[in-house]
Amino acid sequence: MKYIDPHIHMVSRTTDDYRRMAQAGCVAITEPAFWAGYDRCSVDGFRDYFRQLTVVEPARAANYGIAHHTWLCINPKEAEDVGFAREVLSIIPEFLDAPTVLGIGEIGLNKNSRNELEVLELHLNLAAQRDQMVLVHTPHLEDKHKGTLLIMDAVANAGLTPDRVLIDHVEEHTVGDVLDRGFWAGMTLYPDTKCTPQRAVDILERWGTDRIWMNSAGDWGDSDPLAVPKARMEMQRRGHPAAMIEKVTFGNPIAFLSRSENFRLNG
Protein backbone atom coordinates (compact mmCIF):
# COMPACT_ATOMS: atom_id res chain seq x y z
CA MET A 1 0.00 0.00 0.00
CA LYS A 2 1.34 3.44 -0.96
CA TYR A 3 1.76 6.10 1.71
CA ILE A 4 2.92 9.71 2.04
CA ASP A 5 5.07 11.03 4.90
CA PRO A 6 3.99 14.68 4.86
CA HIS A 7 6.53 15.95 7.41
CA ILE A 8 10.08 14.66 7.49
CA HIS A 9 13.50 16.39 7.57
CA MET A 10 15.48 14.43 5.02
CA VAL A 11 18.45 16.82 5.15
CA SER A 12 19.18 15.03 8.44
CA ARG A 13 18.65 11.52 7.12
CA THR A 14 20.75 9.12 5.12
CA THR A 15 20.22 7.70 1.65
CA ASP A 16 19.52 4.36 3.37
CA ASP A 17 16.44 5.98 4.89
CA TYR A 18 15.17 7.00 1.45
CA ARG A 19 15.67 3.39 0.31
CA ARG A 20 13.88 1.87 3.31
CA MET A 21 11.00 4.34 3.04
CA ALA A 22 10.56 3.54 -0.67
CA GLN A 23 10.61 -0.19 0.12
CA ALA A 24 7.87 0.39 2.73
CA GLY A 25 5.64 2.10 0.15
CA CYS A 26 6.49 5.78 0.51
CA VAL A 27 5.81 7.64 -2.75
CA ALA A 28 5.94 11.27 -1.59
CA ILE A 29 7.22 13.39 1.25
CA THR A 30 7.09 17.05 2.22
CA GLU A 31 9.96 18.66 4.11
CA PRO A 32 9.37 21.84 6.10
CA ALA A 33 12.26 24.14 6.96
CA PHE A 34 13.31 23.62 10.58
CA TRP A 35 15.91 24.22 13.28
CA ALA A 36 19.22 22.56 12.45
CA GLY A 37 20.05 21.80 16.08
CA TYR A 38 22.02 25.04 16.31
CA ASP A 39 21.28 28.67 15.51
CA ARG A 40 22.49 29.75 12.07
CA CYS A 41 24.48 32.95 12.15
CA SER A 42 23.88 34.42 8.70
CA VAL A 43 21.19 34.93 6.12
CA ASP A 44 23.43 33.17 3.62
CA GLY A 45 23.26 30.09 5.83
CA PHE A 46 19.50 30.07 5.23
CA ARG A 47 19.95 30.76 1.51
CA ASP A 48 22.13 27.63 1.26
CA TYR A 49 19.56 25.67 3.30
CA PHE A 50 16.70 26.77 1.03
CA ARG A 51 18.77 25.66 -2.02
CA GLN A 52 19.25 22.30 -0.33
CA LEU A 53 15.48 22.01 0.20
CA THR A 54 14.49 23.10 -3.31
CA VAL A 55 17.27 21.54 -5.41
CA VAL A 56 19.33 18.88 -3.61
CA GLU A 57 16.69 16.91 -1.71
CA PRO A 58 14.23 16.59 -4.64
CA ALA A 59 17.06 15.01 -6.64
CA ARG A 60 18.04 12.62 -3.82
CA ALA A 61 14.41 11.56 -3.34
CA ALA A 62 13.84 11.06 -7.06
CA ASN A 63 16.52 8.35 -7.08
CA TYR A 64 14.09 6.24 -5.04
CA GLY A 65 10.90 7.20 -6.86
CA ILE A 66 9.81 9.53 -4.06
CA ALA A 67 8.32 12.93 -4.91
CA HIS A 68 9.85 15.61 -2.67
CA HIS A 69 8.19 18.94 -1.80
CA THR A 70 9.12 21.61 0.70
CA TRP A 71 7.92 24.50 2.87
CA LEU A 72 10.08 27.55 3.68
CA CYS A 73 10.51 29.72 6.77
CA ILE A 74 12.73 30.57 9.69
CA ASN A 75 11.76 28.13 12.43
CA PRO A 76 10.29 29.49 15.69
CA LYS A 77 13.33 28.26 17.65
CA GLU A 78 15.36 30.90 15.81
CA ALA A 79 12.67 33.57 16.02
CA GLU A 80 13.66 35.30 19.26
CA ASP A 81 15.89 37.66 17.25
CA VAL A 82 13.23 39.53 15.27
CA GLY A 83 15.73 41.58 13.28
CA PHE A 84 17.53 38.48 12.04
CA ALA A 85 14.22 36.77 11.30
CA ARG A 86 13.15 39.74 9.16
CA GLU A 87 16.36 39.37 7.13
CA VAL A 88 15.68 35.68 6.53
CA LEU A 89 12.06 36.41 5.63
CA SER A 90 13.26 38.88 3.02
CA ILE A 91 14.94 36.11 0.99
CA ILE A 92 12.07 33.59 1.11
CA PRO A 93 10.28 35.15 -1.92
CA GLU A 94 13.37 34.30 -4.02
CA PHE A 95 12.40 30.62 -3.59
CA LEU A 96 8.59 30.66 -3.56
CA ASP A 97 8.34 30.13 -7.31
CA ALA A 98 10.48 26.98 -7.22
CA PRO A 99 8.43 24.08 -8.62
CA THR A 100 8.42 21.97 -5.45
CA VAL A 101 7.60 24.69 -2.88
CA LEU A 102 4.16 24.18 -1.30
CA GLY A 103 4.04 27.16 1.03
CA ILE A 104 5.29 28.62 4.31
CA GLY A 105 6.35 26.27 7.09
CA GLU A 106 6.95 25.00 9.60
CA ILE A 107 6.13 28.24 11.33
CA GLY A 108 4.56 28.66 14.75
CA LEU A 109 5.75 29.12 18.30
CA ASN A 110 8.34 27.46 20.52
CA LYS A 111 8.25 29.05 24.00
CA ASN A 112 5.24 31.30 23.26
CA SER A 113 7.18 34.56 23.53
CA ARG A 114 6.18 37.96 22.15
CA ASN A 115 9.04 37.94 19.65
CA GLU A 116 8.14 34.48 18.39
CA LEU A 117 4.56 35.67 17.95
CA GLU A 118 5.73 38.72 16.00
CA VAL A 119 7.80 36.54 13.65
CA LEU A 120 4.85 34.16 13.25
CA GLU A 121 2.66 37.10 12.23
CA LEU A 122 5.29 38.22 9.68
CA HIS A 123 5.23 34.74 8.13
CA LEU A 124 1.43 34.65 8.10
CA ASN A 125 1.32 38.04 6.38
CA LEU A 126 3.76 36.76 3.73
CA ALA A 127 1.58 33.68 3.20
CA ALA A 128 -1.50 35.88 2.82
CA GLN A 129 0.22 38.25 0.39
CA ARG A 130 1.55 35.39 -1.78
CA ASP A 131 -1.52 33.14 -1.44
CA GLN A 132 0.59 30.39 0.11
CA MET A 133 -0.53 27.39 2.12
CA VAL A 134 0.82 27.11 5.67
CA LEU A 135 2.29 24.26 7.73
CA VAL A 136 2.32 25.08 11.46
CA HIS A 137 4.65 23.74 14.15
CA THR A 138 3.08 23.72 17.62
CA PRO A 139 5.31 23.98 20.69
CA HIS A 140 6.75 21.07 22.62
CA LEU A 141 5.40 19.43 25.76
CA GLU A 142 4.19 21.87 28.43
CA ASP A 143 4.07 24.76 25.95
CA LYS A 144 1.90 23.00 23.33
CA HIS A 145 -1.64 23.72 24.52
CA LYS A 146 -1.11 27.43 25.15
CA GLY A 147 0.87 27.83 21.92
CA THR A 148 -1.71 26.06 19.81
CA LEU A 149 -4.43 28.44 20.97
CA LEU A 150 -2.22 31.51 20.34
CA ILE A 151 -1.32 30.23 16.86
CA MET A 152 -4.92 29.60 15.81
CA ASP A 153 -5.85 33.13 16.88
CA ALA A 154 -2.90 34.56 14.90
CA VAL A 155 -3.92 32.65 11.77
CA ALA A 156 -7.46 33.95 12.08
CA ASN A 157 -6.20 37.52 12.60
CA ALA A 158 -4.09 37.22 9.42
CA GLY A 159 -7.19 36.43 7.40
CA LEU A 160 -6.03 33.00 6.23
CA THR A 161 -8.70 30.39 5.68
CA PRO A 162 -8.20 27.43 8.03
CA ASP A 163 -8.68 24.80 5.33
CA ARG A 164 -5.35 25.89 3.77
CA VAL A 165 -3.52 25.63 7.09
CA LEU A 166 -2.33 22.41 8.75
CA ILE A 167 -1.63 22.56 12.49
CA ASP A 168 0.99 19.90 13.18
CA HIS A 169 2.07 17.92 16.24
CA VAL A 170 -1.45 17.73 17.69
CA GLU A 171 -2.04 15.49 20.69
CA GLU A 172 -5.02 14.55 22.83
CA HIS A 173 -5.35 17.99 24.46
CA THR A 174 -5.16 20.01 21.22
CA VAL A 175 -6.64 17.93 18.38
CA GLY A 176 -10.26 18.71 19.23
CA ASP A 177 -9.79 22.49 19.21
CA VAL A 178 -7.80 22.35 15.94
CA LEU A 179 -10.43 20.31 14.09
CA ASP A 180 -13.36 22.24 15.59
CA ARG A 181 -11.92 25.50 14.20
CA GLY A 182 -11.72 24.05 10.67
CA PHE A 183 -7.96 23.47 10.40
CA TRP A 184 -6.24 20.36 9.16
CA ALA A 185 -4.39 18.46 11.89
CA GLY A 186 -1.12 16.51 11.81
CA MET A 187 -0.01 13.90 14.32
CA THR A 188 3.72 13.38 14.70
CA LEU A 189 4.90 9.90 15.64
CA TYR A 190 7.86 10.15 18.03
CA PRO A 191 9.25 7.59 20.46
CA ASP A 192 9.03 9.88 23.52
CA THR A 193 7.88 13.42 23.03
CA LYS A 194 4.82 13.45 20.77
CA CYS A 195 2.43 10.59 19.74
CA THR A 196 3.33 6.94 19.70
CA PRO A 197 1.68 4.99 16.86
CA GLN A 198 -0.69 3.47 19.43
CA ARG A 199 -1.84 6.84 20.76
CA ALA A 200 -2.15 8.25 17.25
CA VAL A 201 -4.56 5.46 16.35
CA ASP A 202 -6.45 6.09 19.61
CA ILE A 203 -6.84 9.72 18.47
CA LEU A 204 -8.21 8.59 15.10
CA GLU A 205 -10.72 6.37 16.89
CA ARG A 206 -11.84 9.21 19.15
CA TRP A 207 -11.74 12.22 16.82
CA GLY A 208 -12.27 10.57 13.43
CA THR A 209 -10.32 10.50 10.18
CA ASP A 210 -11.41 13.74 8.48
CA ARG A 211 -8.80 16.51 7.93
CA ILE A 212 -6.01 14.63 9.74
CA TRP A 213 -2.74 12.94 8.77
CA MET A 214 0.23 11.24 10.42
CA ASN A 215 3.93 11.95 9.90
CA SER A 216 7.29 10.83 11.24
CA ALA A 217 8.95 14.26 11.45
CA GLY A 218 12.16 12.24 11.20
CA ASP A 219 15.15 14.49 11.87
CA TRP A 220 18.53 14.54 13.66
CA GLY A 221 17.01 13.60 17.05
CA ASP A 222 15.14 10.57 18.41
CA SER A 223 12.76 9.80 15.56
CA ASP A 224 11.85 7.02 13.14
CA PRO A 225 11.54 7.56 9.36
CA LEU A 226 9.39 4.41 9.19
CA ALA A 227 6.93 5.58 11.84
CA VAL A 228 4.04 6.01 9.39
CA PRO A 229 4.10 2.41 8.12
CA LYS A 230 4.40 1.28 11.75
CA ALA A 231 1.24 3.24 12.58
CA ARG A 232 -0.47 1.62 9.60
CA MET A 233 0.45 -1.77 11.09
CA GLU A 234 -1.09 -0.66 14.40
CA MET A 235 -4.34 0.15 12.57
CA GLN A 236 -4.27 -3.26 10.88
CA ARG A 237 -3.57 -4.94 14.22
CA ARG A 238 -6.78 -3.45 15.63
CA GLY A 239 -8.83 -4.52 12.63
CA HIS A 240 -9.38 -1.14 11.02
CA PRO A 241 -10.37 -1.44 7.33
CA ALA A 242 -7.84 -0.88 4.56
CA ALA A 243 -9.89 2.05 3.26
CA MET A 244 -9.47 3.90 6.57
CA ILE A 245 -5.72 3.26 6.60
CA GLU A 246 -5.42 4.44 3.00
CA LYS A 247 -7.44 7.57 3.77
CA VAL A 248 -5.28 8.74 6.67
CA THR A 249 -1.88 7.90 5.21
CA PHE A 250 -2.45 8.61 1.50
CA GLY A 251 -5.80 10.15 0.60
CA ASN A 252 -5.85 12.86 3.25
CA PRO A 253 -2.31 14.10 2.49
CA ILE A 254 -3.19 14.27 -1.20
CA ALA A 255 -6.43 16.14 -0.44
CA PHE A 256 -4.62 18.82 1.58
CA LEU A 257 -1.40 19.09 -0.41
CA SER A 258 -3.24 19.28 -3.75
CA ARG A 259 -4.51 22.71 -2.71
CA SER A 260 -1.07 23.79 -3.96
CA GLU A 261 -0.72 23.52 -7.72
CA ASN A 262 2.93 22.51 -7.14
CA PHE A 263 2.03 19.20 -5.50
CA ARG A 264 2.26 16.16 -7.73
CA LEU A 265 3.07 12.47 -7.42
CA ASN A 266 5.70 10.89 -9.65
CA GLY A 267 4.56 8.88 -12.64
Binding site: P139, R206, R238
Partner: protein, 100 residues
Protein backbone atom coordinates in the same frame (compact mmCIF):
# COMPACT_ATOMS: atom_id res chain seq x y z
CA UNK B 1 -17.02 11.77 13.22
CA UNK B 2 -15.90 8.59 14.95
CA UNK B 3 -18.04 6.97 17.63
CA UNK B 4 -14.85 6.84 19.69
CA UNK B 5 -14.65 3.09 20.04
CA UNK B 6 -11.71 0.75 19.47
CA UNK B 7 -12.64 -2.24 17.27
CA UNK B 8 -11.02 -4.69 19.68
CA UNK B 9 -12.84 -6.13 22.69
CA UNK B 10 -11.53 -5.32 26.15
CA UNK B 11 -10.20 -8.87 26.47
CA UNK B 12 -8.43 -8.61 23.11
CA UNK B 13 -6.84 -5.29 24.13
CA UNK B 14 -5.54 -6.81 27.36
CA UNK B 15 -4.28 -9.91 25.58
CA UNK B 16 -2.42 -7.88 22.95
CA UNK B 17 -1.08 -4.98 25.02
CA UNK B 18 -0.72 -6.11 28.65
CA UNK B 19 2.93 -7.13 28.58
CA UNK B 20 3.98 -3.88 26.88
CA UNK B 21 2.30 -1.84 29.63
CA UNK B 22 3.44 -4.13 32.43
CA UNK B 23 6.98 -3.28 31.28
CA UNK B 24 6.19 0.45 31.22
CA UNK B 25 4.84 0.52 34.78
CA UNK B 26 7.96 -1.32 35.95
CA UNK B 27 10.06 1.30 34.16
CA UNK B 28 8.25 4.06 36.07
CA UNK B 29 8.75 2.22 39.36
CA UNK B 30 12.43 1.69 38.63
CA UNK B 31 12.82 5.38 37.69
CA UNK B 32 11.38 6.45 41.06
CA UNK B 33 13.47 3.84 42.93
CA UNK B 34 16.56 5.15 41.12
CA UNK B 35 15.85 8.65 42.40
CA UNK B 36 15.46 7.24 45.94
CA UNK B 37 18.82 5.47 45.58
CA UNK B 38 20.63 8.46 44.13
CA UNK B 39 23.74 9.66 45.95
CA UNK B 40 22.20 13.12 46.23
CA UNK B 41 18.42 12.88 45.98
CA UNK B 42 17.51 16.57 45.82
CA UNK B 43 15.64 15.67 42.61
CA UNK B 44 12.80 14.40 44.82
CA UNK B 45 11.64 18.03 44.95
CA UNK B 46 11.84 18.41 41.18
CA UNK B 47 8.63 19.83 39.71
CA UNK B 48 8.69 17.19 36.97
CA UNK B 49 8.70 14.31 39.44
CA UNK B 50 5.91 15.92 41.46
CA UNK B 51 3.89 16.32 38.27
CA UNK B 52 4.52 12.69 37.34
CA UNK B 53 3.28 11.48 40.73
CA UNK B 54 0.13 13.57 40.32
CA UNK B 55 -0.43 12.01 36.90
CA UNK B 56 -0.01 8.51 38.32
CA UNK B 57 -2.80 9.22 40.79
CA UNK B 58 -5.00 10.37 37.89
CA UNK B 59 -4.69 6.92 36.31
CA UNK B 60 -7.04 5.42 38.88
CA UNK B 61 -9.11 8.35 40.12
CA UNK B 62 -12.20 7.02 38.34
CA UNK B 63 -12.79 10.12 36.22
CA UNK B 64 -11.85 8.60 32.80
CA UNK B 65 -10.41 10.49 29.80
CA UNK B 66 -7.03 10.00 31.46
CA UNK B 67 -4.76 10.90 28.57
CA UNK B 68 -6.31 14.28 27.82
CA UNK B 69 -6.51 15.21 31.51
CA UNK B 70 -2.88 14.23 32.09
CA UNK B 71 -1.84 16.27 29.05
CA UNK B 72 -3.53 19.29 30.60
CA UNK B 73 -1.89 18.61 33.99
CA UNK B 74 1.47 18.66 32.20
CA UNK B 75 0.68 21.90 30.32
CA UNK B 76 1.30 25.56 31.05
CA UNK B 77 -2.16 26.95 31.83
CA UNK B 78 -1.31 30.61 31.30
CA UNK B 79 -2.71 32.32 28.22
CA UNK B 80 -0.59 35.42 27.47
CA UNK B 81 2.69 35.39 25.52
CA UNK B 82 5.77 35.59 27.75
CA UNK B 83 8.16 38.53 27.47
CA UNK B 84 11.15 36.52 26.23
CA UNK B 85 12.00 32.86 25.66
CA UNK B 86 14.18 31.74 28.61
CA UNK B 87 15.55 28.74 26.67
CA UNK B 88 14.88 26.84 23.45
CA UNK B 89 13.81 23.51 24.95
CA UNK B 90 10.98 22.29 27.16
CA UNK B 91 11.08 20.31 30.42
CA UNK B 92 7.88 18.29 30.04
CA UNK B 93 5.97 19.79 32.97
CA UNK B 94 5.05 23.39 33.80
CA UNK B 95 7.16 25.21 36.34
CA UNK B 96 5.32 25.69 39.65
CA UNK B 97 4.79 29.41 39.10
CA UNK B 98 2.90 28.65 35.89
CA UNK B 99 0.92 25.73 37.34
CA UNK B 100 -2.84 25.91 37.16
Amino acid sequence: MSDGSCPLSANEIVDQYFLEHRAKVLDVAAFLDRIDRSVANEACADHRVEALLTCIAMLHDGDGDRTRRIQHRLSDQSTAPIDAAPMQGATGAPLPETDA
